[in-house]
Symmetry: C2
Subunit: 117 residues, 2 copies
């Protein structure tokens, strides 16, 4: 089944995660090959491992990919990633809906909790 519709904030995070050519490539690559581990994927795409690590984190935080740390036969820890099941529909109407669940614009002038000491 398809996952539930994201909140406005979640949608922004997903869009931000996808709004980058490198991350789009990463998702596409995982979509094609099914799953892969970090070092190999970095070689495949042609970027440094720390850089890929950063992008994978962003994609995973947005819920677009999922990772799992596994042990290979020769005892190495390997982190595999695959694409999550997502399906976003973006039109003026759906965006208007999502905006309704967006965190209100920063108004820390108002009386809220204990902000500072």
């Amino acid at each position: 089944m398809t996952p539930r519709r994201p909140t406005g904030d979640e949608l922004v995070e997903m869009l931000a995660a996808l709004a980058n050519p490198l991350r789009l490539r990463i998702v596409a690559q995982l979509a094609v090959v099914g799953r892969d581990y970090v070092s190999h994927l970095a070689r495949e795409i042609g970027i440094s491992r720390p850089l890929l690590h950063m992008h994978l984190q962003r994609l995973e935080a947005a819920g677009l990919i999922v990772g799992s740390l596994e042990l290979s036969e020769d005892g190495k820890a390997m982190k595999f990633f695959e694409v999550a099941d997502f399906d976003l529909h973006l039109s003026a109407a759906t965006l208007a809906e999502a905006v309704a669940t967006l965190t209100p614009p920063d108004s820390d002038k108002g009386p809220s909790h204990k902000e500072r000491s």
Copy 2:
């Protein structure tokens, strides 16, 4: 009719334009009220006019809204904006397709290299 499917680069630009709560609000507001001019929209949303101007530019460049400069009855130049007709479908499969039309990663050196698994 629905507009043609964007290239990878265009898609990235559209996603980047939407990946911002303020711009999402702008699109939503225009979707609801139909059309509006810059100064009024700024008051409506509660941000400065120069700031709105910048966001509108970004949205228009991405093809998500369209603007037209008109003359009011009392002779003032007024720039009206409305949402464009867009309808994006984002899933692992459609993203993989879009990536195929993405500008190749910056390779001002050696030519492409056969990748191996």
